[in-house]
Symmetry: C2
Subunit: 182 residues, 2 copies
């Protein structure tokens, strides 16, 4: 019943807390599922519970967490499954390591200026981090290394959700990873 | 080009060290691959490296390791992929937890009397364990809880490799999880 032909690939959404990774990945999941695609979501929380309980937020622990997500993404992608990953994944080297390993890796930088994030601050985390109350907070007390050349750059302060999702969809189409069944 | 139609399922080989889990799973992998099936092997060592580095051999750590293998098996199986797991997985409760979670879970008890294992002792581990030199050694200084009602029981001291593989293959066919394309 699929209205979409697709290959296996991993759509990797990286970006700071609150930038919109989960919102965009949820919208993408909905669109993939409606089209009958085989797709799995690996978001940061699911993975911390199921694969990485006990790991913290040091660079080493974050890298280990990313490698595990990469391992699972590889197993799924090479078998024709679409994987959507939503994870801060702040270190460039760890993302590049996953890219080298995973069949059809598509990096999406979910970007938003920190001033806007601090203003939105849905969970009140930025206020606390800016007050120095949160250790290892990406973008404030911990680095965020933005992708230098991501396949897709979305700016959630300047675009609507539909526009961001549309940019990702276009890139997947352009690469031949998805194609509609007429 | 597949000569085999198959569903997604997880073939879970449990048994003591040296009983023959890897030998049987390698033979099964070869047979699945020759038939063009989509299949992944998760063996104890691969998983310890990629998902469970840092975990030890306490009951808690072993259970965590098994849950992680179960999580990955579930993601693959529900997308139509065959997963072959070769892991000692000594605790019944942990295996039952995975069974409850995974689409089409097929448990294979790779059984061999401990006297025979101690006599084979390819890696010299039983000798050391029986001398009290290895902590947490399954079947000697740590428990092995045999499955009460596995889908397949193979006895590697009494059967040839081909016979054991054949028993697994028959059970998969009987359950309708695999069927040859004529």
């Amino acid at each position: 019943m699929s209205t979409l032909t697709h290959q296996g690939f991993t759509l990797w959404l990286t970006g700071m807390s609150g930038a919109g990774k989960s919102t965009i990945s949820d919208a993408l999941m909905e669109r993939f599922r409606s089209a009958g695609a085989k797709v799995e979501l690996l978001d940061g929380d699911i993975v911390r519970t199921n694969l990485s309980q006990g790991l913290g937020f040091s660079r080493e622990d974050r890298d280990t967490n990313i490698r595990r997500i990469g391992f699972v993404s590889e197993l799924l992608s090479r078998n024709g499954i679409i994987v959507v990953v939503a994870a801060i994944s702040p270190y460039r080297a760890a993302r590049e390591e996953v890219r080298a390993r995973v069949t059809n890796f598509v990096e999406v930088h979910v970007d938003c200026p920190i001033e806007v994030l601090a203003k939105r601050d849905v969970k009140g985390l930025y206020k606390r981090a800016l007050a120095g109350e949160v250790a290892n907070f990406t973008g404030i007390s911990d680095p965020y290394e933005a992708p230098l050349n991501p396949e897709v750059l979305v700016r959630t302060d300047l675009e609507t959700l539909d526009e961001s999702v549309g940019k990702v969809w276009s890139e997947l189409t352009r690469k031949g990873l998805i194609s509609p069944n007429d």
